[in-house]
């Protein structure tokens, strides 16, 4: 398929990945039809602030929008909101949307994102039990997010802990229930998890670790969460922060290869050359990690997918793949993460946790593979550059804080 034959591009999913793709296609000079289809009512917006500034009330929806709502018409991008795509006919290159209308495409981009996992407990559908994925989810939660309200968060991942931090800052009482024996078990080391556990405990968050919720109690509204061991925690609101599943329904329906997410190559192309998949719904080989397949749920991944696909469809300069990066804001702590820590066999700390400013460097054999930096932007950016260029600082050198990060990076091989 040469780029000249492509006159009509449909993007399914108007989140950050989809929105960014539309914008970059136009910036890259694509002059054909762009149709961007999203289930939510709002134009593409940033999700990370939902569990941070938006929940707290510091940022309104206008500031979350990737671009002002008027830009889409100005740039001749057909933005169809509050609309679900329901069927893909790959043989005839058509997408059917709710209501039966069929839209033809020459190239299709799946940016369908992920759906939050629901609690599969009795009482999970009571009023006051909230998911946490969309602006609407947070809008429903906000009126109940008031001083002295009792919040139970199920799941101690980043979203759950960010919501817990905002809740404490607003004066709610907060209990976090986590089935694993430590928070953040899927996303960081025991050392860094321990730091965040201590920090939240110091801020007044109660933790039930190794806790197994049995049911949500209440008649119409939630009143508490009962655990398998018989204890009950009273609650006015419950947030389910137990992760997401990639939205692969359409990919499955039209027979694309799907594993943990829609399978693509490094250029985000699926098993059908006319169909691309990007963002939370897709898995691709990771350039800096032995081409291991990974499905990342992050802004970096959403933006990068958009850049890769836009370059491919406009014949633009190929995007230089970055080392994966992430961040989380909790209280006055800025956690910045570069690389993928899975499979590490050694962790080296630079700085001390008690100062609330340190970085944990993860090594696999001699190779630096990831960093978790808390209030340490230099360590974060330095490590990110090294991972991207395949260089390493010998672990022994990191503990010497008299040598600035920049110097260590310059000397790295």
């Amino acid at each position: 398929m040469s780029t000249g034959e492509i006159k009509r591009i449909i993007i399914i999913g108007a989140g950050q990945a989809g929105g960014e793709t539309a914008q970059r296609l136009r910036q890259g000079g694509f002059a054909g039809d762009i149709t961007l289809i999203g289930e939510e009512p709002a134009p593409p917006y940033q999700r990370p602030p939902l569990s941070k500034g938006y929940l707290k009330g510091d940022l309104d929806m206008d500031r979350l929008l990737l671009r002002p709502a008027t830009v889409y018409a100005e740039e001749n991008i057909t933005l169809l909101t509050s609309l679900r795509a329901v069927w893909i006919d790959r043989a005839n290159k058509r997408v059917r949307v709710e209501g039966g209308r069929e839209l033809p495409y020459d190239a299709l981009v799946l940016a369908t994102g992920a759906k939050p996992r629901k609690l599969t407990l009795v009482g999970a559908d009571l009023a006051g039990v909230h998911l946490f994925r969309t602006a609407a989810d947070v809008d429903a939660l906000k009126p109940h997010f008031v001083r002295d309200a009792k919040l139970v968060v199920v799941g101690a991942g980043y979203i759950g802990l960010e919501a817990a931090a905002v809740a404490r800052q607003l004066g709610l009482s907060v209990t976090v229930i986590e089935t694993a024996v430590r928070p953040l078990a899927r996303v960081t080391s025991p050392e860094v998890a321990g730091f965040f556990l201590d920090e939240h405990t110091r801020q007044g968050v109660q933790f039930v670790l190794g806790g197994q919720p049995a049911m949500i109690k209440g008649r119409e509204r939630v009143t508490g969460v009962a655990l398998v061991d018989g204890t009950e925690i009273s609650a006015d609101i419950v947030i389910a922060g137990i992760g997401v599943n990639p939205d692969i329904a359409l990919a499955d329906q039209c027979g694309l290869e799907v594993e943990n997410g829609i399978v693509t190559d490094a250029l985000c192309q699926t098993s059908d050359p006319a169909v691309f998949a990007i963002g939370d719904c897709a898995a691709r080989p990771m350039a800096h990690f032995d081409k291991r397949m990974a499905r990342l749920e992050s802004v970096h991944n959403a933006m990068e997918g958009a850049k890769i696909v836009a370059a491919a469809l406009t014949g633009g300069k190929p995007h230089t793949v970055e080392a994966p990066w992430f961040w989380s804001d909790q209280y006055d702590l800025k956690l910045q993460i570069a690389g993928l820590f899975q499979g590490y066999d050694n962790v080296v700390l630079r700085g001390v946790m008690a100062d609330r400013s340190f970085a944990a460097f993860y090594y696999k054999g001699p190779k630096l593979i990831a960093v978790d930096a808390v209030n340490r932007p230099a360590e974060y950016l330095g490590a990110k550059m090294l991972i991207q260029t395949g260089r390493t600082i010998p672990p022994g050198e990191l503990e010497d804080e008299t040598r600035p990060m920049k110097e260590l990076v310059a000397a790295a091989r």
């Binding site: 990737l66 802004v299 970055e322 950016l381």
Partner: protein, 106 residues
Amino acid sequence: MPKITYIEASGKEHVIEAPVGQTVMEAAVKHAVPGIDADCGGACACATCHVYVDPEWLSKTGEQNSMEQSMLDFANDVEDNSRLSCQIKVSAELDGLVVRLPKSQH
């Protein structure tokens, strides 16, 4: 609304009306000024919204904060007037501000 002029490395100028309270980065991104990537959306997490503040305006935009300084330490072609534009809040005082963009943010 205060007007801000963004000058691309090529010399191309963009004059944008920026709402008070937003950041110099947000105004640029919302109007798709090329040359400011701002991948993280203003969380001071990516260092891809680097700008050079016109020297006349430095006293009004204020100094780099410490987090910003550490991030800029690793950016390309950093000068004394380098700032991360996500850390400059638009105010009435900044009406007429001129910032120049680096050749690349990566």
